[in-house]
């Protein structure tokens, strides 16, 4: 509330300040010009001469010169505007000051300002800060202070590195991951984190450096999901769609369905295959079991009798949606085997496989 009082006060002062000169009677209208200037100059010379700053000759010469220029000086037009027009102008100017200024200022401020947010000087926040030790930036400051004194603390670097990464301090993250790797030795998590940080520094491009990191991470732990994901992303960025798709699908198969990473990966798969991401991923565990049971039944039925083309296509799709690339591929192979001798059916299987991203 107080802020609005202050704003109103400031506005009032400014409007009054702008209106003030309009209320003043205009002077005789003659503006200063060169004649005033040279008259002033003459007075100044006489003044200086009287104070003894100028000797006789200099002063006389200067005066002659100034007087000569005074005579030659351009007479500026003394005319002023017509009084009637001046009244109209003053009214317009008053309107601008009274309404234009407040309306423009207030509308801009309402669009950009946050009048309801109070000041938050650190002094008034000390109490709440002290109790809230979980605050991230306080913790960072503490860890940083510790690392300044103990740069050999590998765990410290390893702890702060992902925090830097999530805060967008990518250069610092690269440094922290490198230090941690150096001090703690090779681990897939740190190595893939380093790769991710390098990639972030490069504005999201998986550079050769970053890719090397991911490869190293996979060498020490082939199941590292982060490294798998970025390796696939690298292939995608390189334009190697089939490889990217294969890598994504392999990763997807190993992820729990409906988990966040799985959804991310499925989006990439969808983008690469042109098939929209499936809502089936959102199913909860119970539903998921039910679906699995249904799929298994379908599988069993088709194993017994492989003549149902639609059934095969459904099965392939089901496995693919559940993220089981291996089984989807297997289903495709079995469908092809079951449908040998039906070129049309084989075509359909191939098309579906391509759409689903099962075959390359």
């Amino acid at each position: 509330m107080l802020i609005w009082l202050l704003i109103a006060f400031l506005l009032g002062c400014v409007v009054l300040g702008l209106l003030w000169p309009l209320t003043q009677p205009t002077h005789d209208g003659r503006d200063l010009d060169d004649r005033d200037f040279y008259r002033g100059q003459l007075a100044e010379i006489e003044h200086d001469q009287a104070r003894g700053l100028l000797d006789e000759t200099t002063a006389e010469d200067a005066k002659t010169e100034a007087a000569r220029r005074l005579l030659a000086a351009h007479r500026d037009g003394d005319e002023v505007s017509e009084p009637a027009k001046m009244v109209i102008r003053r009214k317009l100017a008053s309107l601008v000051a009274l309404f234009g200024v407040p309306v423009l200022a207030l509308s801009l401020y309402l669009a950009l300002g946050s009048p309801n947010l109070p000041d938050q000087p650190i002094a008034s926040r000390q109490a709440s800060l002290a109790s809230n030790t979980a605050d991230l930036s306080v913790m960072i400051a503490k860890v940083e202070a510790r690392l300044t004194d103990h740069p050999e603390d590998g765990m410290g670097w390893g702890t702060i590195a992902p925090v830097y990464l999530s805060l967008g301090r990518y250069d610092d993250a690269v440094k922290a991951f490198s230090n941690a790797l150096h001090l703690l030795g090779e681990t897939a998590d740190l190595r893939s984190g380093l790769g991710e940080a390098r990639m972030a520094v490069a504005d999201g491009i998986v550079t050769a450096d970053a890719l090397a990191d991911f490869d190293k991470a996979l060498a020490s732990d082939p199941t590292n999901e982060r490294a798998q994901y970025y390796r696939a992303l690298a292939a995608e960025q390189d334009g190697d769609k089939p490889r990217a798709l294969a890598l994504y699908q392999a990763l997807y198969g190993s992820l729990p369905p409906a988990s966040e990473p799985a959804q991310l990966v499925s989006k990439h798969i969808a983008a690469l295959t042109g098939v929209p991401a499936k809502p089936a991923l959102d199913v909860d565990a119970g539903q998921s079991d039910m679906i699995k049971a249904m799929v298994e039944r379908l599988d069993a039925r088709l194993t017994a009798d492989g003549s149902d083309l639609e059934g095969w296509l459904k099965l392939m799709r089901a496995y693919q949606v559940l993220g089981d690339a291996e089984k989807a591929k297997d289903a495709m192979a079995r469908a092809q085997a079951a449908q040998t001798g039906h070129p049309e059916a084989l075509d359909k299987i191939a098309v579906a496989a391509r759409e689903l991203g099962i075959s390359n």
């Binding site: 202050l6 400014v14 000169p21 503006d31 002033g40 100059q41 002023v80 605050d135 930036s137 202070a145």
Partner: protein, 661 residues
């Protein structure tokens, strides 16, 4: 609340600046004294509001109010108070607000002094100042608003960057801005005169002090920036022909030309149209400098293109004011009354030559600065135009101009006698040649240019001295009279002599850099190394911690012959959580030269890889700039600014009494 109040004040300042732009100009054109009278009031209001806004932002920094995005990004609660205050302008948003603050300070000063000015001229000048302020305030409000808030308040700021915590870096931008923005007054006066349709003695009298003031600040700002780069970057260089440096050099060159042409205008009412053009061009180069530094276009044309809002906005402002100014010039200048006449060989003629040389050198620098940007835009090639280009283009122009300076300084107004001046300068010339011969005989080898440059510096200093001596000393005069004459000499004459001598001092400092000695060595503990006249011995290397950093320090003992001359330290600093270690150069001044140590690496076996420089006379580079600024200040304090144009009267005295003062 204080923050929000500041935000509102800033927005309100934009609206009053708009009023200041539109209504007084209307009043000036329509000859309506009431509207014209609004100019001063609006200028004071805009000034007061921007001060409020700036104070509110400063308060947010001092009190570490982390609900303000700008404070979070650029400050930290543990920063020393001084760097919290300087932190306000050490970032883009705050520095643009400082730019506007300085602009409105100048406008308010013009308004204060405006009582003695013709009301119509004052109204149009303040209107143009208001337009510049409004444009930049809108830029700040829409694209670089420092008052944006956060609802989720972080516990700490992120702006703990100790590399930037340096007194040099804290003072350098305000000085430079005072220079850049100061030239806006000359620009406003030029546009005002064009609108007014008249340009006369009053005009010149009022515009000169502002130009001089801006020039002094810009000179100091450039010198300061150069010294900062010298001691902070650790390469031992003091000028890199970097685009950012060129951005400040160009307005300086053009502003120096303007300074000289306003002298001609004030005293002789000549060169009017040219002075108007120079005023427009000088401020245009200042705006260009702001654009180059602030739009991100220098780092890469592509980074500019990827976040174009700011760059495009400043480019728009640039186009509006430069384009508008030049169009107005083309339209109105032919109507201006031409001024006094003068013979080609005269002080005026000399100043015209000075102007041509300075303007040409500014163009040479401009081409070298913009060419890489244009090329990158056209075909994506990133090239850099460096010292070789500038050494071949701008530097020869400087040299030619400087050779010429003592002549111009000694020539009489209106009609000069070159031969007489030549005779008077004979002694100075002899001194310069002597200095050259002496250097040639002492220093064997080395580039020929260095003794020549040294001679040039001596020539400038001796030329200035000879002018002063000629004015106040005659054979047979008693010493008392001579001193009285020297004291009675106008301060602007002393200012001219000092400024030109200062240039000479800088030239000597620059020439001497080629005699600098650079040694790169790997030194074991207690091993000695010869650096020029000094011997340095690695005394110890140790670790040290300071606030927010730890460093590996190497300390060397310095000896000249057998005489111990103290120690010199250099270090590699690693700041908490920062990627790059920084090098802290060690600098010790001996006489006019400096010993400069910059450590590369401390090797595991205790050896140290280090670079040493001995830079004779290097301090003269900056000392000269200080002397130049002092000369400018003396000239600014000249009482004749109040008396006005009495040079012609002095000329008359000259003919009769043979005395110029």
């Amino acid at each position: 609340m204080i923050v929000e109040f500041g935000h509102f004040a800033m927005i309100l300042a934009f609206t009053t600046a708009l009023v200041q732009t539109v209504l007084p100009m209307w009043g000036a054109v329509a000859r309506d004294p009431a509207l014209a009278a609004m100019a001063r009031y609006a200028a004071f209001l805009t000034f007061g509001l921007v001060v409020l806004a700036y104070a509110a932002l400063t308060w947010a920094y001092i009190s570490s109010d982390f609900s303000v995005v700008n404070v979070v990004m650029n400050s930290h609660s543990t920063k020393p108070l001084m760097y919290k205050i300087s932190g306000v302008w050490s970032n883009h948003e705050g520095s643009m607000l400082l730019w506007v603050l300085i602009l409105v300070v100048f406008a308010a000063l013009v308004a204060i002094r405006g009582g003695a000015m013709p009301a119509r001229l004052l109204a149009s000048v303040l209107s143009v100042q208001g337009a510049i302020a409004a444009a930049f305030l809108l830029f700040v409000i829409l694209t670089s608003n420092p008052f944006l808030r956060l609802a989720e308040i972080p516990a700490e700021g992120q702006g703990l960057n100790p590399i930037l915590e340096d007194p040099g870096l804290a003072i350098h931008p305000p000085l430079l801005y005072l220079g850049y923005v100061g030239f806006s007054v000359a620009f406003s006066f030029a546009v005002g005169a064009l609108v007014h349709g008249r340009i006369d003695a009053i005009w010149a009298r009022f515009v000169r002090p502002w130009t001089l003031l801006a020039w002094i600040f810009l000179t100091l700002g450039i010198a300061m920036g150069s010294y900062w780069a010298y001691y902070e970057l650790g390469w031992g260089g003091w000028w890199f022909w970097d685009p950012v440096e060129n951005a400040s050099l160009m307005p300086w060159l053009m502003g120096t030309a303007l300074l000289h042409s306003t002298v001609v205008m004030e005293k002789r009412e000549a060169l009017k149209v040219w002075t108007i053009l120079l005023s427009i061009l000088t401020f245009s180069l200042s705006l260009l400098g702001t654009f180059l530094v602030r739009s991100g276009v220098i780092t890469s044309v592509h980074s500019f293109a990827s976040d174009p809002a700011r760059g495009i906005f400043i480019l728009g402002i640039l186009t509006l004011f430069i384009g508008g100014g030049l169009v107005l010039f083309a339209w109105r200048a032919p109507a201006l009354k031409q001024g006094g006449l003068f013979a080609p060989v005269s002080r005026e003629g000399a100043l015209v030559v000075n102007n041509l040389f300075l303007a040409t050198s500014a163009v040479a620098v401009l081409v070298g600065t913009l060419y890489p940007l244009v090329l990158e835009t056209l075909n994506g090639n990133k090239i850099s135009v460096g010292a070789p280009y500038f050494n071949l283009t701008a530097v020869p122009i400087f040299v030619a101009l400087l050779v010429f300076v003592p002549f111009g300084q000694s020539l009489a107004w209106k009609r000069g006698d070159l031969l007489a001046v030549g005779q008077r300068l004979l002694a100075a010339f002899g001194l310069a040649v002597l200095a050259m011969i002496a250097t040639f005989s002492v220093v064997r080898g080395g580039p020929v240019a260095a003794p020549l440059g040294l001679g040039l510096g001596v020539w400038l200093i001796a030329g200035s001295a000879s002018d002063v001596l000629y004015r106040c000393c005659r054979r047979g005069l008693p010493l008392r009279t001579m001193i009285e004459r020297a004291l009675g000499m106008p301060r602007s004459a002393w200012g001219t002599a000092l400024a030109h001598a200062g240039m000479g001092i800088t030239v000597i400092g620059i020439s001497a850099t080629v005699w600098g000695i650079e040694t790169l060595a790997i030194v074991s503990p207690h091993e000695s190394l010869a650096v020029g006249p000094y011997t340095v011995t690695l005394e110890q290397s140790f670790k040290r911690t300071g606030q927010g950093f730890r460093e590996d320090v190497v300390r060397f003992a310095v000896k000249e012959g057998d005489q111990a001359k103290g120690t010199i330290e250099s270090s590699k600093r690693i700041h908490t959580g920062r990627e790059m270690p920084t090098t802290e150069a060690g600098i010790v001044t001996y006489g006019l030269g400096q010993l400069y140590a910059s450590v590369n690496d401390t090797l595991p076996d205790g050896k140290v890889s280090i670079r040493f420089y001995w830079k004779p006379l290097v301090t003269l580079i900056w000392a000269g700039a200080l002397v130049m600024a002092l000369g400018g200040a003396l000239s600014l304090a000249d009482r004749r600014l109040r008396i006005g144009a009495s040079a012609k009267a002095r000329k008359a005295v000259d003919l009769q009494g043979g005395s110029k003062a």
